[in-house]
Amino acid sequence: MEPRIVERFKKRTVVFHWVHTLAFLMLIITGLILFVPWFGEGAAGGATRIIHRVFAVVFVVAPLFYLPLNLKQSIHFFKESFLLGKGDLGWMMAAPDYYFGGPEEKMPPQGHSNTGQKMWGQVCIGTFIVFLITGIILWFFRGDVSPGVFQWAMVFHSIAFFVAFLMLFVHVYLGVIHPRMTESLKSMLDGKVSVHYAKSHYGKWYSEVAEEGEEH
């Protein structure tokens, strides 16, 4: 087993990731019972509504703390997620075979996030905004906005849920289960990966890090 010595995530990023994960999981459980018809009775009595609102606050407040305190990284994350380039086209072409166990060499070297992770970043940011706006309407403005606005807020809250939940499913599958992503979950626990993993999965990023390391 190679020692995992390349820092991929800062400690506070790891903490933020898991706080946000916990909040989102609680929101999923308490929201899913409204989404899937045969789970509906789980919401009877309204206890899950209170839980949903408590974790909605955590879900919204956590990034409000994290982002300003890690401004440089956050800006980098936003830029990286939304500014796609030629390299991303290469990833998309190579991805189907790569994820079905094809040869690793055929995958062009990736930066800190590969294109799939960038897309997940886009989904997180996009659905966060939709959840936030529609959630505020559903929570605070029932009766103040017209029924039509409320109805569509509910529909878009559900669409955001649909998209975010299924993409989370992809994220968890790739991060935890996929036979190729051997260090992904570990790196989200202590923030580190091995040199081999960094080179083979994020070649472009690793060469940047290695260069910086030599300079210092």
């Binding site: 019972i33 409204l34 989404f35 899937v36 018809p37 045969w38 509906g40 009775e41 919401a43 009877a44 009595g45 309204g46 899950t48 509504r49 209170i50 609102r53 994820y99 079905f100 166990g101 094809g102 040869p103 029932r142 009766g143 029924p147 039509g148 409320f150 109805q151 569509w152 509910m154 529909v155 559900s158 669409i159 849920f161 649909f162 939940f165 299924l166 499913f169 992809v170 599958y173 289960i177 996929h178 036979p179 190729r180």
Partner: protein, 291 residues
């Protein structure tokens, strides 16, 4: 082995799909056939006979534990609320005030029942729309989807706001009695009875009114949300009495159901896809490592 797993996933996905459709299908099927059922009770409200005495309002409040001693003034009629399940809608024509008793219409194909996620709202075999307050989660979807804006929640209550609306005097009616409002009505404007008979009576009354007034109509026959269990004899356009001319299930409710079904389907498709991906990727990587 791989094929059997795939066909298993396919089969379980199909079964799950059926399970999703089943409650919705029965809900609609029930809605489609029941309005004409002989057992169904209903109320027929003849606005031409209403004098605005507020007896129905007072009887409703007393029956449901919110006694009220003051008669409301027509200039400031109380709105429906968690403790006001019946009120009068007041409109004016040629300087004359007109009254329409306003409460739950007990639709056959009710939007509130359809959007209620917890099953708190349901159909009674006598035709009316009943609710179980213990099951209500307070989401308020019913208040926002009802085309007549009937259900209300206690807006003052923090986090334990629950649905309230006309219950069709559940305890009185199931015991063989009539509703409190119809019992209290001194002019016969509110009649309680079997829906089929009241429908005929309403049609006859409209025919009579139409001799002098072409605008007279019956509101709530089977063309309105599968048939209402509160029908009106009107002497003017429905809108002028504050009733939607063509109430329907709001489109977002249907869009939402489609999203739910597609979402559930997509989830099972992904479970299948990931299983396949895992098996193929693991086998190929293992073969590569052997070389």
């Amino acid at each position: 082995m791989e094929i059997s797993r795939r066909s298993f996933l396919k089969a379980s996905g199909g079964l799950a799909g059926l399970a999703v459709c089943q409650p919705l299908v029965t809900k609609t099927a029930q809605a489609a056939t029941d309005a004409d059922s002989a057992s169904h009770k209903a109320m027929l409200i003849d606005v031409t006979k209403c004098v605005g005495c507020w007896y129905c309002y007072a009887a409703c409040k007393k029956q449901n534990g919110y006694p009220e001693v003051n008669r409301p003034t027509p200039d400031d009629p109380p709105d429906l609320a968690h403790n006001v399940w019946t009120t009068l809608h007041i409109s004016e024509k040629d300087g004359v005030q007109r009254f329409r008793k306003q409460a739950c219409m007990h639709c056959t194909d009710a939007a509130c029942v359809r959007v209620c996620p917890t099953g708190a709202l349901s159909y009674n075999e006598l035709g009316f729309v009943q609710y179980d307050k213990e099951k209500c989660s307070g989401c308020g979807y019913c208040t926002q989807y009802c085309p007549f804006e009937i259900p209300r929640l206690d807006e003052e209550a923090i986090s334990n706001d629950r649905i309230d609306k006309c219950t069709f005097c559940f305890s009185r009616v199931t015991a063989g009695g009539q509703t409190a409002c119809s019992a209290a009505c001194p002019t016969g404007a509110i009649k309680f009875g079997n829906r089929g008979e009241l429908l005929e009576e309403g049609k006859a009354r409209v025919t009579e009114l139409q001799k002098d007034n072409a605008k007279a109509s019956l509101y709530g026959d089977s063309d309105v949300l599968g048939g209402l269990h509160v029908m009106y004899v009107l002497d003017d356009a429905a809108e002028s009495y504050g009733l939607p001319a063509d109430p329907t299930l709001p489109a977002p409710a249907v869009v939402h159901e489609v999203i739910q079904w597609v979402g559930i389907g997509a989830f099972f498709a992904m479970v299948g896809g990931f299983s396949l991906n895992y098996l193929v990727a693991r086998a190929r990587i293992a073969r590569e490592e052997k070389k």
